[in-house]
Symmetry: C2
Subunit: 692 residues, 2 copies
């Protein structure tokens, strides 16, 4: 911890030194230029603050992992450090108010629209100089509407524009969630996950919204400032969960993979649902408030249409861009140049976000499904270099983004000027958030268990309930809009809920696992047995590919037959009924048409399409797909400069040999699964890694 | 090229569709909100434009590489695509003027400083509503001074704040240059590189500045608007070179490594010199102009002091942060968790930039030297996973940043509103830029050859002269400040020089190599022979480590003795005189004290420090360093989730075996060299990779 102490002192020294330095240099003469420089340095210092917080977090968390101390996850630590530093800034720092000047339009201004203008031009007298110079004109850009005139004379130290969360911080986190999804278990539990995420999140939102509205009507001081839409918005944002801490522990301790898939899958999807839902509520509010939406029911149905429309379109754009990337990487030889290939991959994924945002859809939802498609199709076409590069890149971005947002939650608790602490609202918020989670999990689990064969046991349900930590998405939605008192109270409550759940629920996970008697140290192979019969339906392709040599049984069944004719064998599965009819159709379609079209996987379209389509199938089948031996060569004379040393090249060599050996097996290897398998074999449950 | 066509149509379709959509939605009522959304969508579209440009560039360049077409580098292509799209935007797009409102201060405004305020508050009448609502107050933030009132009613389509180049685009490019520097050849040619970069760039700046000033005095239309400082600033910015294209070809064709090192090393350092020099000129200008700098000579010497002070301090901060990272990675076991380790590495490197910027130094220079130190020390301590991850991360960032800036140069040629085309100035600029490059290379080469043993032959000098392409740094410095006509003319000229040199000089490289009879396909081992005698001096450690098994002769001389007592053998080198005295001192110090202190390399400080310091040496020597067998174990039980599959793990195993075998050899392996060696052996000069 000595290092930590030294670092902290260093930060303070630096801040102090720079503030002194600023005071001096502000006396120079080209004041405007100096001011711009000063602003730039303040921005740098702000960023530096967070960089140091993250460095501290990384070093401390290393120490914790090193000592196998599992009660605090890095995000919890980031929050705690953030709170400490935020408090220091708030109470130790001096307040330099931002001065403003009130202005009125000039008499002869040509501007005559009913909207406030984008730009103001201020003719400012050049007072300082002697002899007087001509007046100068300065441009001012529109920033915001000022609601509370009294409260605005405060600086925004160590804060950022809330929109950066949606445009910079969340996209890599969400993309990574999609890209690293363990699709085998995700698809196997798809029904339950969709139920919890779609229906559960909606129920939770409305229950929380209604309850909060009821609570507020008991509190005379809040009554006037909240509408039902406000509390509903709160319900939507608080219904998204972020169980990072719990998933990290699950991964370390090898908790049952289906429980893992339920918790992870639900949390990924309910983020998407929450953001679209809150957007629809906001639109509904605007329409209703403005009076043009007609009567209320009509606006309600439009909001409902909005919700499904935006969700579906965003999903489609994400999937489409993923497929286009797959096509580009399949039909060009860009994998001969892994750097170009990785760049293409990153650019296509980023453009998915931008296209969705530019089309008034939800970029975050689009990148989620883009990530899933990239992992499902494109990943198979990538060179070994690009696979590792993209995985590691997004893993790192995800780590940095996550810890940044959590330290920001901590710091902003003290420094963000638009907090509104209301004990009543906070108490009600905690209570409703808990209740909302309960009405999501328990009733739906009961219903699911009616139809589901491997039922979700009660201890899993408890764990799902307790995995309802709130995190990045809730906070980002809460801080997005803080114009009214109501919204400020929501932000404060949301921040507190995030902080408390991440630290307390996260810290209690180990204890809870023991209480609920949830089995740990489960090997995936062992766990898989009860599901063996289902394996021939769609997602099983990944099981087989991913398991590779580890699971001997897969080797016995002839691979290609299983993939080409899943329907033939599907009758044999004893527990097939827990696969939804739609999921089976899709899996069949995926294996027969999508994978052969979008990846180098066998069977080819020549084998799956009817004979009449042979000319088209011929075009859409690459030579790699036909003669997969060619491939190992073409990958070898790659951009070998990019590898570090010859050992890595020999690794590349080996890898390719294994591609040759196991034919299409590795070529369509499962992204998430590879990890876990290796994990299972080489690591004792100990100072485990981060997997989410 | 069909893909390209389809993509282009897609972009236009999208733009069209969205502009239609916008027109509709602008008619809704919460106009302010709609406006914010509109702005966000325009921002997204702008980014999307560049993302698509980059995707196009990646796909086209793949096609070129695939067909071994070497006349156009990806950056050249990015410029060309940028120009095309820029022209389309300019001439096809409609101009939507940004409306402004002129305002005057309110009578009773409390604001009374001589500076324009940060914020304006506008009380805006709520005109649209009936019955009239109370007036609203809007906040406006300071943006810029308006110089040319006539010219400002134009939108800033597809443009960005110039500061993003310095804060986002350049740092990864420059860091990567430092991190991927082939230090062996860089240090061997250090004298020449420093001469060209420090002295040469300064000479070139002053020659260009003076000549341009002379030219301008012949042109009556420009005479009034330029001061000597303006032209000197132009001299400084145009003196930085960016020979990406040429280096890529050098790398593909295995041009002599010393020529490569000269071109690369000089271009890296002259970027640093140019940015600090232009900053000093600007400061000098401000001080001189404001009159407080006293008489001119005093201001001149202060500018000189500025230049050396800022350069040295930035260098020291960069080096210090690199060393701190090395210490953190050496004395903690953070490498057991590669993700944490990589995050630490990235955060420390980024904070270097921020610290330098916050201290009014030059962040770009700091990250350059930070990158060099990270490669020289920290890299040796990193786990295999982090090595590959950080290398690949920065390579990708560099690629994206580079191509972004070049497509921006293309697009902004047409869309940036502050261009000033003056044929006279442009012509003079081209002529002076060429002449400035000539007065840098030829006289200094002559002087260097007086003292240098392996002389720089004339054909190398010609190649160095022609490698004077201008690029990212020149453009970023030119676009930073465009308030006056003079600065706008500089921007236009710089943009044109960048475009022409990148396309024409880049395209002519193959031809020039033939004309100048520069040998290609040189194997490093062959080339190394004439230098054999020098090997015992400092940088040779890297040679030896990097060469490893490739160069048998190194194996014969006992490694440790050579490292521990370089001075003993140094007399034997026949060409020792071409190593500067200072370089030898440093190399000795580095091997004896710095490397043992900062890395896991042998000899340890216990062996190199005097006996009296044993207690300290004991503390600073890790057990890994003493018994390197331990190390292979501690790295193996790492955060294995992060590895992709078992093949990579087994690669890790192997690697460690080789560490055990060759003791400290691999532990202090050279970053850049590994690449090239491998390169030399496995790749035929063909569709080569990118190495810069």
């Amino acid at each position: 911890m000595a290092v930590v102490g030294v670092m902290r002192i260093f930060v303070f020294f630096l801040t102090f030194y720079i503030s002194l330095y600023c005071a001096n240099s502000a006396a120079t003469d080209i004041e405007l230029d100096a001011k711009a420089q000063f602003t730039h340095r303040i921005d740098s210092l702000n960023l530096l603050l967070y960089t140091f917080l993250l460095i501290l977090t990384v070093l401390t968390i290393w120490l914790f992992k090193h000592r196998r101390f599992r009660f605090l996850h890095e995000t919890g630590l980031a929050v705690i450090y953030g709170l400490i530093v935020g408090a220091l800034i708030r109470y130790a720092g001096s307040k330099t108010p931002v001065l403003h000047m009130s202005v009125t339009p000039e008499k002869d201004s040509k501007y005559n629209l009913s909207l406030p203008p984008d730009t103001l031009w201020l003719r400012f007298p050049n007072r300082g100089s002697n002899p007087p110079l001509p007046n100068k004109t300065y441009a001012y850009a529109f920033r915001e509407e000022i609601v509370d005139i009294e409260d605005n004379e405060m600086d925004l130290k160590a804060t950022f524009d809330p929109e950066i969360f949606f445009n910079i911080i969340l996209p890599p986190i969400i993309f990574h969630a999609g890209y690293s999804l363990k699709r085998k278990y995700f698809f196997r539990n798809l029904g339950a996950i969709l139920t919890y995420a779609l229906i559960g999140t909606t129920i939770s939102s409305f229950v929380v919204g209604a309850l909060m509205y009821g609570f507020i009507h008991q509190m005379p001081n809040l009554k006037g400032s909240f509408t039902f839409l406000d509390t509903l918005y709160f319900g939507a944002l608080i219904s998204s969960t972020d169980p990072l801490t719990i998933l990290a522990i699950f991964n370390d301790l090898h908790v049952d993979v289906n429980l893992y898939a339920l918790v992870f899958g639900e949390s990924v999807l309910n983020d998407a649902v929450a953001i679209v839902l809150s957007g629809s509520i906001q639109n509904y509010g605007e329409r209703y408030q403005s009076g043009t939406g007609g009567f209320e029911t009509q606006a309600f149905f439009r909001a409902l249409g909005d919700f499904f429309g935006i969700f579906t379109l965003s999903l489609l754009i994400g999937a489409l861009m993923g497929c286009i990337t797959a096509i580009l990487t399949k039909f060009t030889h860009v994998r001969d140049f892994p750097l170009l290939e990785s760049a293409l991959f990153v650019l296509m994924s980023y453009s998915t976000f931008l296209i969705a945002e530019a089309s008034e859809l939800t970029g975050v939802v689009a990148v989620l499904f883009c990530g899933i498609c990239q992992a499902h199709y494109t990943y198979n076409n990538l060179s070994a270099d690009s696979r590792s590069r993209t995985k590691k890149l997004f893993e790192l971005l995800n780590f940095l983004a996550e810890n940044f947002i959590f330290s920001y939650i901590g710091v902003s608790m003290f420094t963000f000027p638009k907090h509104h602490f209301d004990p009543g609202f906070i108490f009600a918020g905690f209570f409703c958030a808990m209740l909302g989670r309960a009405v999501n999990i328990y009733p739906l689990s009961f219903l699911l268990n009616l139809g589901r064969k491997p039922k979700i046991p009660l201890n899993f349900q408890h764990m799902l309930f307790f995995a309802g930590l709130r995190g990045a998405m809730s906070f980002a939605l809460a801080i997005r809009n803080t114009v009214s008192d109501a919204r400020q109270a929501m932000l404060t409550t949301t921040s507190l809920i995030v902080i408390v759940t991440v630290i307390v629920q996260g810290g209690a996970t180990m204890q809870l696992l023991t209480w609920f008697k949830i089995p740990v140290g489960v090997e995936e192979e062992v766990e898989m047995l009860p599901y063996a019969g289902v394996r021939s339906a769609g997602p099983s392709v990944e099981q087989i590919c991913g398991d590779g040599e580890a699971n001997q049984r897969d080797k016995r069944s002839p691979m290609l037959g299983e993939m080409a004719e899943p329907s033939r064998e599907s009758g044999g599965g004893s527990r097939l009924n827990d696969k939804a009819w739609l999921a089976r159709i899709w899996a069949d379609f995926d294996v027969k048409y999508m994978k052969p079209f979008l990846t180098h996987a066998r069977p080819t379209l020549l084998e799956t399409l009817p004979v009449c389509c042979n000319p088209i199938a011929r075009i859409l089948t690459t030579t790699e797909q036909m003669t997969q031996d060619n491939r190992s060569r073409s990958q070898l004379d790659s951009d070998s400069d990019l590898c570090i040393e010859e050992n890595e090249l020999s690794y590349g060599d080996q890898r390719r040999t294994s591609v040759q050996r196991s034919d299409s097996l590795i070529a369509s290897g499962d992204l998430g699964l590879g990890n876990r398998l290796m994990d299972t074999r080489v690591r004792v449950p100990g100072p485990g890694g981060k997997d989410i």
